[in-house]
Point group: C2
DNA sequence: ATGAAAGCGCTAACAA
DNA sequence: TTGTTAGCGCTTTCAT
């Protein structure tokens, strides 16, 4: 760990100029084979490794794509995967995988960073300064900051609807058909299962995704002349499993009968609800139907298996990388792109559908 | 995307020196509040974002940890997750997650890069130049290259046994109790299920991990006076699901009865074998017992559920990050650390154990 | 509290 | 083919 060798050291040791050393790494064919060997030999002896920072500074490119996501720490999730790694695969993991894979195919590495919740220094800035372009999961980063950065380098926004007519209009953007999915799932509950007293549990004000889902829910209800409130019946702040369980408690302990169906804005809450209902001796789906949204692996493992809407998170990541690469390579000043990825309604036991294989319907 | 603002632009616009601009970002308290506001204001107007590269160059640190892994493309895996994202979570994903989480806690971001199989430019070099330290999954990188780089910055080797007495002895190193796990699983088959004709399917020469597993297998056999060959009965090159299916074909089509148990060196092959056996009308575990190794999620979803040895991949990633952080912060020239993480034998239906909940035994 | 100036290690013209 | 020479944008003493 003594002193770190640089181009100069290698140049000296091999009797060439630093330019030649540089060439050996960037464009080997532009150097005579014999010279090249001498240089590489010297580099090996010295333990030379080119500094990515210096390279990036000088060439103004990094070969790295970035991904920022929120500090996704559902305490429940922590518990789960302590003993059971696999069930806990979250959104972010799938997105990471999709993005990494695609980035790799294009020769990029991937830098991932989650906002530390106490973190003073702006996350994005840290990432932005080290990559050629990056994706941001919606609401991870203050809009204003994004606006500033996106003047500088390609940014694609993930999974949140484009913020209405805002200043962020010039960003590329990939989202998921939240409303369509929730609408179709709700239609299924109403038409195919004949349910009419549905309760929606979410937290719309915090997330545009959840807002879109609730919109889908209302549309389906309206189409079937089913009454709904203006907003979700219950708003749980974090949408964790614990929140899902609380929702059951609140609903069960108040006057009147339980709704026929609990329509949750995500799977985490739905799973929590399943547990809570079981503890109360209520059967799903006989006594009450439960549905989620997301398609997390856990949803298939719980009993009864959870009916839900599966989001194509892997594709989300892939598309994000693809868009960034396009911007970087081809048209920096092409029109901003906005993609809406289709989701799939997955019917499982918790809505009263058979035990058999999952049955799915894909929706544009 | 016109011109990118720098410290100089911000300095001009706010009427201070570049040093002050720098201070505002690095150490806000060392600047008078009023000045600081002026600078931030100017930065905002200009759309200034500090260049990570320049910063890294000047300060010689990046705040980024790296992870290199092989181009893990099991064609089967691709197929699976096309329709079924969740089952396909691989090793690498878990390691990434563990590492990211721990890195984050220590204020680091994570740079991940998989070797593109045709890739000319050395993967490590690319990563090494951009991070403060990194982890490498065993056999991803030529030993010699690692040796060179590890003189320069902390490197931890993952999941492959330390290459015997080599030049890599000064690297930190985290591995998994492969031999212990396979030994215990094998003992279980022999003692608890009374099996004596066991066939091991792996590919030991390619991977030290598999070698260690086979060693565990032999030890358990020897301890019970069960005969074994010197090497695995079959060596499948890629250890994919297809390979697992082929293994069944080979074993079933040759003379003599099928072994009582097929002990695979990984889950992928075991799952492939399950399918192949089913196609042939053979029942598991009645006609033949099948076991895997790894603990991938898919193993729990197949029928019969797969008995296996679960590796703590998440912890592997966490430990890797932890070791790197320690080296970076504390003792750069402490003795090299070598950790062996415990594994868990997971008994499920494919070995004849009950259908109930998974039963596990953790082994140091 | 702020400024001046010297690098950090590399790439990219432009020469030779 | 190879060498010279400027920077790239920031951090960091050392002054002031």
């Amino acid at each position: 760990m003594s002193t770190v060798p640089t181009v100069y050291d290698v140049a000296n040791r091999s009797g060439v100029s630093i330019a030649t050393v540089s060439r050996v790494y960037r464009n080997p064919d532009s150097v005579r084979a014999q010279t090249r060997e001498r240089v590489l030999e010297a580099a090996r002896e010295l333990g030379y490794v080119p500094s990515g920072n210096a390279r990036g500074l000088a060439s103004r490119t990094t070969g790295v794509l970035g991904l920022c996501f929120p500090d996704y720490s559902d305490p429940d999730a922590e518990d789960i995967d302590a003993e059971d790694d696999d069930a806990a695969m979250l959104y972010s993991d799938q997105i990471i995988r999709g993005m990494e894979r695609t980035a790799r195919r294009h020769g990029y590495a991937l830098l991932i960073a989650a906002s530390l919740k106490g973190g003073p220094e702006s996350l994005v800035a840290k990432v932005a300064g080290r990559v050629d372009g990056f994706a941001v999961m919606a609401r991870t980063v203050p809009t204003e900051e994004l606006e500033v950065i996106s003047r500088r380098q390609p940014v694609v926004m993930l999974a949140g609807p484009r913020e209405g007519g805002d200043q962020l209009d010039h960003l590329d953007h990939v989202e998921v058909a939240n409303a369509d999915g929730q609408r179709e799932l709700t239609r299924h509950l109403i038409e195919d299962h004949g349910l009419r007293r549905l309760a929606y549990i979410g937290s719309a004000e915090e997330s545009p995704d959840v807002a879109a889902r609730f919109r889908g829910f209302r549309e389906a209800c309206a189409a079937a002349d089913v009454e709904t409130d203006h907003g979700p019946v219950l708003r749980m702040p974090m949408m964790t499993q614990a929140d899902g369980a609380s929702a059951v408690d609140v609903l069960a302990d108040r006057d009147g009968p339980l709704p026929e169906a609990l329509v949750f804005a995500n799977d985490q809450m739905a799973v929590g609800a399943l547990h809570a209902l079981q503890r109360r001796g209520l059967r799903v789906p006989e006594d009450v139907v439960v549905t989620g949204f997301d398609g997390i692996p856990l949803g298939r493992l719980v009993r009864p298996a959870l009916t839900t809407v599966r989001q194509p998170m892997l594709k989300l990541g892939e598309q994000a990388a693809e868009l960034l690469v396009q911007r970087l390579g081809g048209g920096p000043d092409r029109e901003p792109v906005s993609l809406m990825l289709p989701v799939t309604v997955v019917r499982r036991a918790s809505c009263g559908c058979g035990e058999g294989e999952d049955s799915g319907t894909q929706l544009a």
